[in-house]
């Protein structure tokens, strides 16, 4: 009975909410999306009127009439021919020589082309499960190849990232499903860290503000001691260097203090403007 009463009066559940931490779960992002795969660029700008890859080599097509050219354009030939041009374009960016099809950089460029047109298709048909799997396989394989390239040739790796416009991120320590508890714990930790840092900064400011008056007092007393010692013809213990040192410290402090005061003023004025 008593316990029940205590439960209703003292709400233990509420304690959690006293900490000012609000958690927003990150939105679900399919793994094939460019944000996850690291592609910073979409499909290359290839016009629909561009000729198919093999037909463009022909001599006759060069002086053919418009209607014939239209028949052999990628817009008319279909998506497959268009995709060939996409792959060709990306491979041409990194090719060593004309017959280069199997070096690491061309392989990665080829895969990038495949990934980009598949990603484009996934936007149109998001329920195509087979294609989804295919993109995922390509992305994983490309990441693996990039990982190996990084191990044996770092300079080329960086150059390739720039050329193909890809982001590379290392694997995290563990892949696990995100949980509310873990996220809240980490956010609370960050919150506590913030509080600690703010308190430390405040204390530091307080101590630094006391430095100026102390230095002034020190300077005066040092000068006084020196003059007294000179007057009474006692052995002089305070050298001029000591006094100069203190003067320098004071100067530095005043400079720092001015900067601080200006920053404070700016902050105040900005707050007033917002209000």
């Amino acid at each position: 009975m008593l316990r029940q009463l205590a439960w209703t009066i003292v709400q233990t559940r509420g304690i959690k909410h006293k900490i000012n931490v609000k958690w927003v779960r990150p939105e679900y992002m399919p793994a094939y999306t460019p944000e996850k795969s690291g592609d910073l660029e979409g499909l290359p700008p290839i016009p629909e009127t561009a000729l198919g890859r093999d037909y463009a080599l022909s001599e006759e097509i060069k002086d053919a009439p418009e209607s014939v050219k239209k028949i052999f354009s990628v817009g008319h030939l279909g998506r497959k021919e268009y995709n060939l041009l996409v792959k060709e374009e990306l491979m041409n960016r990194v090719r060593r020589h004309e017959y280069d099809f199997s070096t690491a950089e061309t392989k990665i460029a080829l895969m990038t082309g495949q990934i980009r047109y598949l990603q484009d298709n996934m936007d149109k048909f998001p329920r195509n499960a087979k294609m989804k799997q295919l993109v995922q396989e390509r992305i994983d394989k490309r990441k693996k190849l990039l990982k190996f390239l990084r191990q044996y040739d770092y300079k080329k790796f960086e150059w390739l990232l720039e050329k193909l416009n890809i982001e590379y991120k290392g694997h995290p320590e563990s892949f696990h499903k995100l949980s509310r508890k873990e996220s809240l714990r980490r956010l609370t930790e960050m919150h506590c860290e913030d509080i600690r840092n703010n308190k430390l900064a405040d204390y530091r400011n307080l101590l630094e503000s006391q430095q100026g008056p102390f230095l002034k007092e020190k300077l005066e007393s040092l000068k006084f001691i020196r003059s007294e010692q000179m007057e009474l013809k006692l052995p002089i213990t305070v050298t001029e260097q000591d006094i100069k040192k203190v003067e320098q410290q004071l100067e530095e402090w005043t400079k720092k203090d001015q900067v601080k005061q200006q920053a404070k003023k700016k902050k105040r004025s900005s707050i007033l403007e917002v209000d």
């Binding site: 020589h97 720039e162 416009n165 982001e167 991120k169 290392g170 892949f175 956010l187």
Partner: protein
């Protein structure tokens, strides 16, 4: 006697690999060791991690470095210092011939091959390439450990996956 042993142990150099870390003023070094399991009489791999003082930032992620313990602990965490980078990551030199290698081929052989086929302008040029690190934090996010994204912050952290 015990003190002598401890002192000599402190002078030992350790060989380890630099791993990604969030610490800004220190390098995290992984030293691989083998530990004997007395029941199975088998050796198992055991990793030890040391935080090393590295003011000039001579080592980058992946480098194989030599480390030595400091005479006194610098902080609670930092106990060692980086002596020397032995093998820079992804920039391999063949120890016998002294030539640069990429995987199983010499770089000059690769270049020669490309020239015979007709080298294109799009090919990668080792001489013009800037030293490692120009993409760090831009497109290459490997200097810090990545983690699972757990919250929507105002600023997007690239290391959150």
């Amino acid at each position: 006697m015990a003190r002598n042993v401890a002192e000599t142990a402190r002078k030992f150099l350790l060989l380890g690999q630099c791993v990604p870390t969030v610490k800004q003023n220190a390098a995290k070094i992984r030293v691989k060791r083998l530990e004997l399991d007395e029941n199975l009489l088998m050796y198992f791999r055991k990793d030890e991690f040391y935080y090393c003082h590295d003011p000039q930032k001579i080592c980058k992620t992946g480098d194989i470095v030599l480390i030595q313990s400091l005479p006194q602990k610098l902080t609670k965490l930092i106990t060692h210092e980086v002596k020397e980078v032995v093998y820079p990551f992804g920039d391999i030199t063949d120890p016998i011939t002294g030539k640069k290698v990429a995987k199983e081929q010499y770089r000059e052989d690769m270049d020669r091959q490309a020239q015979i086929y007709g080298k294109l302008d799009s090919a990668f040029n080792y001489d013009k390439a800037p030293p490692r690190g120009w993409q760090d934090g831009k497109k290459d996010f490997t200097s810090k450990p990545t983690y699972t994204k757990f919250h929507v912050f105002d600023e997007n952290d690239p290391y959150a996956i």
